[in-house]
Amino acid sequence: MAHAETQTASHHFTTTGLDNRKVAIWMFIGSECMLFASLISTYLIYKGKSVVGPFPHEAWTNPATGQAFPPILDIPVTSVSTFVLLMSSLAMVLALAAVENRGKPVPPGLSGKILSSSKLWLFMTCLMGATFLGFQAYEFTSFVHEGLTIRTNLFGSSFFTLTGFHGAHVTAGVIWLGTLLAIDMKRGLQPKDAVWVDIAALYWHFVDVVWIAIFTLVYLIQ
């Protein structure tokens, strides 16, 4: 009995039989839903209420200076960054599968070696996350150069707050995955570590689904 209790404690299982780290990450993700819903609500409530430009989808001419501003959102660039983030989720599930299946027979050939390399897929996920952040930095910089800052109008305030919060979450995810990659490089992640990769993966996929919503509501719906 005592042995069983010790084992239970060391494996962090709750009375439901579920790992408490997974319960915790799902509760955290639930609370994050609330956070992003409030930010998206704010954006939608202020959508189309800006008195001065630049505007997201419409051209605008400043009546005081006569300066013309084109629609500020760059859909092709954001589409590419969206694709990169979606593919990072694929790399993440492959990293988790590689850790969970470590020690099991791998399919013969190069594809088997590639699929079973958790280091490769963790690195690819980090790389694609960093690429997404690079796109976002480019977008923010170009917006500022085109005259849109967080203080310009309601669109600027709500847009930079929403996408900035999301970018901060992506940054945290890249750092988190970077630490897992460092551990994997140092001692190799084993199936017993899979739950740590699993909770990082859940966080990463959540960041992805938030962007799916943002891409449609902010960028595509005019």
Partner: protein
């Protein structure tokens, strides 16, 4: 009993994850839906129609559901995890929709 729980922590909740081929198909479907969304954005007649916003929302919801069900394994995981996610998500969505209706109806949106 306690020992069984410790030795097999979640025997009733054991789940299988999708295979590499399923992950590949999921990625392909997500890519196709994203391409359709962007394609729809560049069709002026569709953008001007009443179908544009519902169409985009449906495609976005489909992508959201696919990632949550397959990549986050919610389709295969314990129902408590489903509850922990869908509960707050439902509250969040209801709050969002209620706020939009409330502020649109009262005219409180016209601030500056």
């Amino acid at each position: 009993m306690a020992h069984e729980t410790a030795g097999h922590p979640n025997p009733d909740h054991a789940h299988e994850h999708p295979t590499w081929k399923q992950y590949k198909w999921v990625a392909l479907i997500l890519t196709v839906i994203t391409a359709l969304e962007v394609w729809a954005y560049y069709i002026p007649a569709l953008v001007a129609s009443v179908f544009f916003v519902p169409l985009l929302l449906i495609m976005s919801a489909a992508k959201f559901a696919i990632v949550v069900l397959f990549y986050m394994h919610l389709r295969y995981d314990h129902r408590l995890f489903r509850l922990l996610f869908t509960g707050p998500l439902t509250i969040a969505m209801a709050t969002l929709i209620a706020l939009l209706f409330l502020l649109a109806r009262t005219g409180a949106l016209h601030v500056s």
